[in-house]
């Protein structure tokens, strides 16, 4: 088992990574305020992992109330959140109840936001079961739901007490979801860890073949990068750099997700296409070479990811991007690469260059 720490003062917490952790209730017990959890999962993950997990909890005297939601980004909304509230209230869960998220990013974001807001806040534990959530969304405390006008528009920062990433759950992950998670893994290499990017290029075949040791290393290295960034900028308030850099490709990508309706493209797929737009724009600004762009494109494709975005038209992209949370006082701030392994926040990209980058990296 690998162990990392996210250093946030009194909100610090461990990230545990390894095989077979799902049934290790002894790892969870020290983090509970009372021996009672509400276990939020979905209709895909629950049949695979819920029973074994609940049995392990019950063996050490922890009572578990399962709350099973429909599966998919389309359900990351108020209705699902309200299903969680209803169950918590019906079961008379109080402030000593810990909410546990057992699932991917949607479940983590929903359960985390429920934890942030139920009775003004209850303890929370993340048990991510997808690569995407293990390397990204389960770490750092971002929670929330979507709004018809934009992704993650409603939410809160609410740190978990513990993140438990069981690499065994990746064995049942669909190929497309594995690829989607790999987009975020590659992102860490691009924005701040060039040696890791080299490692990924050398090991992408092993990763896609689900080699356990390779996956565990990639998850640990991804989480270590994320933990450093989050520790330095918990609430994404840094005016330069900081947490916003984790959003490489995300402003473009969110436009694809929102423009097509949630659930058409997986998050990582949209991020991969969005990353190519950011990389192409960086090249147009003279910061990257055509060879750099081709290198990123090749790696994303080896991870089974798209490198061209949906054909929404540049005007629609720009309109959707203007709703992005990184817009400050009306100015669109993009995450671009000053060089490979070195991301920056940039608010001065010429509009025509942004349009050209969108058009060169979208289908149509």
């Amino acid at each position: 088992m690998r162990r990392l720490n996210l250093a946030l003062g009194e909100r610090s917490y461990p990230i545990l990574i390894g095989g077979g952790l799902l049934t290790r209730a002894d790892l969870i017990l020290p983090y509970l305020r009372a021996p009672r959890v509400a276990l939020v999962s979905n209709e895909t993950v629950a049949p695979l992992y819920l029973k074994g997990h609940v049995e392990a909890l019950e063996k050490v005297g922890i009572g578990a109330t399962p709350i099973i939601l429909p599966d998919g980004e389309a359900y990351k909304n108020w209705e699902s959140l309200n299903l969680i509230y209803d169950s918590l209230l019906a079961e008379r869960c109080d402030r000593s109840t810990t909410i546990v998220a057992l699932g991917g990013g949607v479940i983590g974001d929903l359960a985390g936001f429920a934890a942030a807001t139920y009775q003004r806040g209850v303890p929370f534990i993340q048990i991510p079961t997808t690569l995407l959530s293990q390397v990204d969304s389960s770490v750092g405390g971002k929670t929330g739901i979507n709004h018809p006008r934009g992704k993650n528009m409603i939410g809160a920062f609410w740190q978990p007490k513990l993140v438990l990433a069981d690499t065994d759950t990746l064995k049942t992950l669909p190929d497309r979801e594995l690829s989607s998670g790999m987009a975020e893994v590659i992102k860490y290499g691009l924005i701040r860890d060039l040696p890791f990017l080299d490692w990924l290029e050398a090991n992408m075949e092993s990763l896609m073949a689900r080699d356990g040791a390779a996956l565990a290393y990639a998850i640990e290295r991804s989480c270590a990068n994320k933990a450093e960034v989050v520790a330095a900028d918990e609430y994404e308030t840094a005016s330069e750099g900081g947490r916003a850099l984790l959003n490489l490709g995300h402003t473009f990508g969110h436009a694809i997700e929102t423009g097509l309706g949630y659930g058409q493209w997986l998050h990582g797929e949209a991020v991969a296409a969005g990353t190519m737009m950011a990389v192409d724009l960086s090249r147009r600004l003279g910061w990257l070479t055509a060879a750099d762009r081709n290198r990123v494109s090749a790696l994303l494709q080896r991870a089974g990811l798209p490198v061209k975005g949906a054909d929404l038209g540049a005007a629609r992209y720009l309109d959707l991007m203007s709703h992005d949370k990184k817009v400050v006082a009306g100015s669109l701030r993009l995450i671009l690469l000053k060089s490979m392994g070195n991301a920056v926040t940039y608010a001065d990209a010429p509009r025509e260059e942004i349009i050209a980058a969108i058009e060169s990296s979208s289908r149509g």
Copy 2:
């Protein structure tokens, strides 16, 4: 103008109290991240105060987007919250926009929760226009909405950057609302400030006659008490005492509010009746005398408040109270008076004594 400080480290903020503050945009300007506010108010308050406030803001270059909600506790729900989100998104408000609550406790709680959750949190300013909100709900960062199963069940701690209590707004306050606020003023005397209780007994006629100086003093003293309690226990996590003590009468009172449906009894009316239940229970436990109980009853009545709760039946009270947020691991914790001016958290009151206290202080 009177000025207090709520000491919460980097989340500290001033509470300004006095006449004519509503048009003092210069007091607000230093607390804005960008010269733009979303002004949340209701259909009762907006016709009285919105125009003058917006004009004052515009004079110093602050753009204001008004968001007007229906008036009343019945509207402290998801639908109203969503109206705020919709307006913020339609107007493309970003993280630099400050949400301002102009109204009573319902508006403050709704606007505050919107601020806590819009784009994972934006700055917030409270401009309370009722006595209740000036002495209680605008200070301390509790925000939230009601759920059909319980009051304030969904919410967040989100501190404002500034509280601006304009005592002139109390001139237009209905008598019943003035009384409702007075229940919370009296509460501070009962739980931790016996000299203030004496002062209230000597000055209740002036207060009810809306003497400006008397009201300003009562508001300042109430806020000073609340600020001390909140500074010591921001998140209501103290196992003994702390912020929970501010809820004297509230567990019983919430049962009345929830049992009858929101909006039948005003909050302070329910708290007054609930306070009598808590006082009577304290007497039954041997902590107060019958004379103490009569003293509290007389003062509440001079403030125009009810001293007997709605006739729900003790069983229904207990059922509703079991949903209270102060329930920890199944145990009902009540705020009682160990002596006059000295509140405690108590989890061991015998059930039959609780029932007797409810029955002796309810109509029927």
